[in-house]
């Protein structure tokens, strides 16, 4: 089936090539294959495929990747706006109200 793509030029993903050691963790953890290791360094293949899950940044041992991680969920953003908090899945500790599970 065709590849599903979201909005263009919107994600906060930043990659600092100079810090990269080419360990390949980003390539392993990214669910959309945004990174590819070539000639000992990671490269961004298609930035617009990034969904800002934050897995790459969290697992990069040299902090070569930065991304403002979060959930791409309208419901979470609405709840976040109403409660004045950052949008998260299951916006409160009362997990009964969570929409994912």
């Amino acid at each position: 089936m065709e590849e599903q793509k979201y909005l263009k030029n919107v994600v906060t993903l930043e990659f600092y090539f100079i810090k990269c050691t080419g360990c390949g963790m980003c390539e392993t953890v990214c669910p959309h294959s945004v990174f590819e290791v070539k000639e000992g360094k990671a490269h961004i293949t298609e930035r617009d495929l990034c969904m800002e899950c934050g897995a790459c940044a969290k697992n990069c041992p040299t902090e070569a990747i930065r991304v403002k991680a979060g959930v791409g969920c309208a419901g979470a953003i609405i709840m976040g706006a109403l409660t004045g908090k950052e949008p998260t899945c299951g916006h409160s500790d009362d997990s009964k109200k969570s929409c994912c599970g």
């Binding site: 979201y6 897995a55 697992n59 991680a69 791409g72 309208a74 994912c100 599970g101």
Partner: protein, 347 residues
Amino acid sequence: MEETINKKYIIGFMDTEAGKIPKVPTALNIVDKWGTFRVRWSFNRMGYTVTPGIYAVGNPNRDSLVLVSANYKLSFDVLRQAIKGMDAYIMVIDTNGINVWCAAGKGTFGTSEIVNRIEITELKKLVNHWNIILPQLGAPGVSAYEVKRLSGFSVIYGPIRAVDIKAFINAGMKASKKMRQVRFSIYDRLLLVPMEIMSGLKYILWAAFITVLLSGFSKTVYSTTTAVIAGAHSVLILILAYLSGTIFGPLLLPWLPGRSFSFKGGILGLLLFAILCVTGFIGKNLIESIAWLFLIPAINSFIVMNFTGASTYTSLSGVRKEMRIAVPLQVIFAFIGIVLYVISRFI
């Protein structure tokens, strides 16, 4: 965490140096299957948990693999089914009953819980090696090098889908590119439809109630008979709009034009409006028809916009961007629609 379901899936115990460990089969029994069906329809989804700890599949020994899972029973069931014929341990960590990916996003499927669970379960006494296999989708919450530093255990990120776990192990802990990519196939989306239908049920009941109330107005008097008769017709349109958004929104997602979900929803609404006009459902009263032209796309735009949360490829920045434009438009459209609907009652 309290166990809220019966433990019919435990078929015995094995004694180990790390204590008694429950054994679980790799096939689901009728209770498991019924549970799966119920949570897909959103019943008691938040209480569908497994007690955190170590479970044994087959007859594992000190060299057997350790696979990590969330304590959402659906996640646990999918994993144990996928390792049929293997001897392995499953380490269930406490994610408050939330699935791996969502819990990783929240951080509950995370570094500290894994490190703690390794301590609590005395994993070091159970196995001779220093490896744990995590689902790839746990990575947003877990820092592999931190887990290594704090617990001594190396994190191996397995494939995204549990069904690929055997192929991954057989390939020497290597995942193909496909195993590393999340999908959102029509089947994946179909599985989400029941939950979508259930999610907004109470709102649609309220909307139906208000529609019936508004339908009672006329030039002369407020009539409860008109409210019920004209109201019933409008409620039916409302329900059709709701079902179109919750069923066809997910199913037709890649084929609806545009990239923003709210736009896709708006188009879906226009489509439904056109169908209802052609079939004569809408059209007897011009102003009421125009009201629906605003209302149906607004409703469907909102519903499909909310499907971003269930999708596997939308980013927070992207959803924020589309909402800045879409939400004000939805509010304006809905407002115009309601005003026109009330006006149409008096003509």
